[in-house]
Symmetry: C2
Subunit: 223 residues, 2 copies
């Protein structure tokens, strides 16, 4: 290769700046405890785990789902936490609203580090994930909802026990899994029933409500 | 959804077992130090970083490279370290040979947790990456070679300084980057020149050899 064209060199500089910047996600800690390691999970390794879960569970996505777009979505979905931090899934609505605003501002900054066309494409993918606008986004959200559940199970209760979460609260969140994948929703439902039986998760406060998990709204209520 | 078919339930059990098993990669520590965090990088967050670097740098892959296959490769490439551990890039050839054997045994075990067809497909992808058999594998290896370099730069020298690595040794490794992407190889070359100038990396022991980085063999010598 001869001399750089100025355009390619500028693009490389921007792309390398982006790669360096996103490394900060390794320092964003989540509420989830990794049972075997006795430490909090960070958002980078969480995102990796989601991407591989999407690959492993891809056949349970609705027909026609483009799994490569799902993988890209889960890889980038938490980048905004570099500025906004991680919010606990069971935080109150006011906290969720504040978080949403902070995450949009973060997306404005972080994706703009890339060359503009490329940054805009990733930003659009992030918006799509956030607004659950497609089958891909809904499947990605399902995976994002499922993985912490598995970590809590592996940790013998994890954040559920630490925060006094009960089965009815968890089942409400499962609605989002069903929305992305009926098969995964059903499997998650059984995992929760088993967790209650095994004493890892407290039963519903009002046992009569536990079964009727509301269909989730298009946006807003989730993490 | 009604009752499970036994086949789907068995597949889900295997897929969830795989997702749980691979979480162990978060506990495999690499030689790379994350400068800003003052701790070792683990192989799960490293793999996430590679996947996003592949997305950010995709336009520098040779024409026709399927970037989605590259992403899948880097996501799975280190799973074998769950059993085999991480080997330092600059380890001796005997250690590399031992490691290679341990990694193949690990691949036999870990991919077999999945339903057989799915496990075989991921295993083939892992073999392809390892043997650098395609443009996708060579680009993935280039990214895998590039990212630790960036971490060392960000950490003000990192493993280079800790292990007394010199510029000629790093330049030998850059041959693998050039092999996957001439543009990225050229950019890496400049980063190394700048690192020597900035005093982050010791100059070549025999300055005359520093420029001639050997073309890499098809397999064997790399991490």
């Amino acid at each position: 290769m001869g001399a750089w064209s100025m355009e390619i060199l500028e693009q490389l500089d921007q792309q390398f700046a982006f790669v360096a910047e996103i490394g900060k996600l390794k320092g964003v800690l989540r509420q989830t405890t990794l049972g075997a390691l006795g430490r909090a999970e960070n958002s980078a390794e969480h995102s990796w785990h989601l991407a591989l879960a999407a690959i492993a569970l891809s056949e349970h996505a609705p027909a026609g789902t483009d799994i490569n777009r799902v993988i890209a979505m889960v890889l980038i979905h938490d980048l905004v936490e570099i500025d906004a931090g991680d919010l606990f899934l069971y935080a109150n609505p006011e906290e969720h609203a504040r978080q949403e605003q902070a995450e949009r501002a973060a997306a404005d900054r972080i994706f703009a580090i890339l060359p503009s066309e490329q940054g805009a494409a990733l930003r659009a993918l992030w918006d799509e994930f956030n607004e659950r606008r497609s089958a891909e986004a809904r499947f990605a959200r399902a995976i994002d909802r499922l993985q912490p559940m598995l970590e809590n199970l592996a940790a013998g209760g994890g954040t559920w026990q630490r925060h006094g979460i009960t089965a009815d609260q968890v089942l409400e969140k499962v609605a989002l899994i069903e929305d992305g994948s009926p098969a995964l929703g059903k499997y998650a439902h059984e995992l929760i029933t088993n967790a209650v039986t095994a004493g890892l998760l407290a039963p519903a406060r009002d046992a009569g409500r536990a079964g009727e998990s509301a269909r989730p709204s298009r946006s807003g209520e989730e993490d």
